[in-house]
Amino acid sequence: MVDFIQNTLDGIFIGSSYALLAIGFTLIFGVMRRLNLSYGPSIMLGVFAGTLLYIQLNAGLLVVGLATVVGAVLAGLYVERICFWAVRRGAALASMVSSFAIWMQLEEAVTIVFPDRTYPFPPLADFTLKLGPFWVRGEHLIMFICASLLTILLHLLLYRTRFGLAIRAVSENPTAAKFMGINTGLVVMFAFALASVIGGVAGYLIASTDQQVTPLFGLWATFKGLIAMTLGGMGSIPGAIAGGLLLGVIEAQSVWYLGTEYRDLVAYAVLFAFLVFRPGGLFAQKSAMQSRLAARRV
């Protein structure tokens, strides 16, 4: 029982970073209704910007973090301009293929500058707390606190500001939003930047927990974000958070009880089961059921 709770705790801490990735995906999917395969790789570019400063100039934590976020935002905007803004409306598949091509491009750019397999990343904290029978790693705790703070800030931004209102309006109905005088192109661009900020913070937290980065990080981040978003329910921010935490817990438990080689298999199996039995995910079940009922009535 102690093991189980300890795993759950670890899973929730790790899962908080998955939740951030899933929130980023949700924001992009909300305003665009298109799949951005380059989301993870653009975060990876930011993480490598941070590690470049760390290796070359031995920069401090704050500078590295700032460089990570700025790098991720710049890469994210590059992806948005090239794959989404430039590709005309109605060509969602073309956007997806473009984002795949840019993913290859970003990965290649990083491997040209960083030819080795792994590079060091500065750790955030090096202490371990003991709470009763449970251990909490310091960087996990910081990860969880940062993720929670960022989520609260995002909530305030989305529900308390005019800009948040604009994002929600565009997600709800882009045409109606346009008629209300919202500059949808600008809102989409800012939503991308916002998603990249969140992704950059997530990338920074994950890289400093692992204390190393590899060019495979992009693919990894895209996977985790997509799976967490799907578990929680497409297009719902509470769902993305719940999905991220759930994915973290599932992974932690399966590593403990079955071994590392089964971690991803178990996550995929759970995902598949969710898609079959609860296709709306944890939180968006109502809308999924409505659309299915509508299809059945035809």
Partner: protein, 303 residues
């Protein structure tokens, strides 16, 4: 000469892979599972020729049938979801297949060497072609025979009622359903045929590379599989072939002299192609022009 035969082989196998995604994309489903079916075809055909000593053609057909059957099984649950959810579901399936072969060992002694798939080390020594004295030219001819068969089959299907049904589902599911099309049947059969074709491609791939491992069948390959038909255009099977020649022949081989910088340009050129031609390289207009020029079919209607 061998270099060009090798290039022909790569283009042929990737065309088959692209065509397997083409038929699924016709129904409007974006699937990242094709690499999984490709892997199933590769491993099963390899095991049948190496471990059971079969001839390649029956081994290939059995492997393709297994892949098609798995696709059918996966199709039912997976097609309960649409759009992005289906992308995630099929990605999960494809990765699960890859991880299955990563953990799969089945080796027997043949002479004094152990043959068969061995987990992370992969499946070595699939030597059907060299053992039977096929030259690279023969292999290229064999591959292109199958490319031609599959392309002809899909071309014919496109012009038949079945093609119209698939396209109707892809255009508008509600409208298709309201004119009495069974959505599940259309989608699952497209999925199964796609799995079958991917299985053939995988079987051929395993035999011409002679060494396969789980890492060959990752999400990159699966994304290439859907990128070909989307880049080429969903109006005709010719688009997929053109896209494979564009990517494998021009972008991968033709730009090899650029070294590391190739992939940078590679991405930019694909994006450029998608910007200029969002409906694919060969879209309806080009197809109609082609039809008029060669006066095939109705002599160019407004399809």
């Amino acid at each position: 000469m061998d270099f060009y035969f090798g290039l022909l082989q790569i283009i042929g196998v990737h065309t088959i892979l692209g065509l397997s995604a083409y038929i699924v994309l016709l129904t409007g489903q974006v699937t990242i599972a094709q690499a999984g079916f490709f892997a199933i075809g590769a491993y099963i055909a390899g095991m049948l020729t190496v471990l059971a000593g079969w001839h390649l053609v029956p081994a290939m057909l059995v492997a393709a049938l297994v892949a098609g059957f798995v696709a059918c099984l996966v199709g039912f649950p997976a097609l309960r979801v649409k759009g992005l959810m289906l992308v995630v579901a099929t990605t999960a399936f494809g990765e699960a297949v890859r991880l299955f072969w990563f953990n799969f060992d089945y080796q027997i002694a043949k002479g004094d060497v152990q043959v068969g798939p061995l987990g992370g080390e992969g499946f070595k020594q699939i030597r059907f072609f060299p053992e039977n004295g096929w030259t690279t030219g023969d292999v290229a001819l064999f591959i292109w025979f199958w490319v031609a068969v599959i392309m002809a089959g899909l071309w014919w299907m496109d012009r038949s009622r079945a093609g119209a049904v698939l396209r109707a589902v892809g255009e508008d599911e509600l409208a298709a359903q309201s004119v009495g099309i069974n959505l599940t049947a259309a989608k699952v059969s497209a999925f199964a045929v796609g799995g079958f074709i991917a299985g053939i491609g995988g079987a051929i791939y395993a035999h011409y590379t002679t060494h396969i491992e789980h890492a060959n069948f990752g999400v990159i390959l699966a994304t290439f599989a859907i990128a070909y038909p989307i880049l080429g255009g969903l109006s005709s099977v010719l688009g997929t072939l053109l896209a494979v020649i564009f990517i494998q022949g021009f972008l991968v081989e033709g730009l090899r002299f650029l070294g590391d910088w190739r992939n940078l340009l590679f991405g930019a050129l694909i994006v450029l192609a998608m910007n200029v031609r969002p409906r694919g390289l060969i879209d309806e207009r080009v197809l109609n022009t082609l039809r008029r020029t060669f006066s095939i079919g109705q002599g160019g209607g407004n399809a």
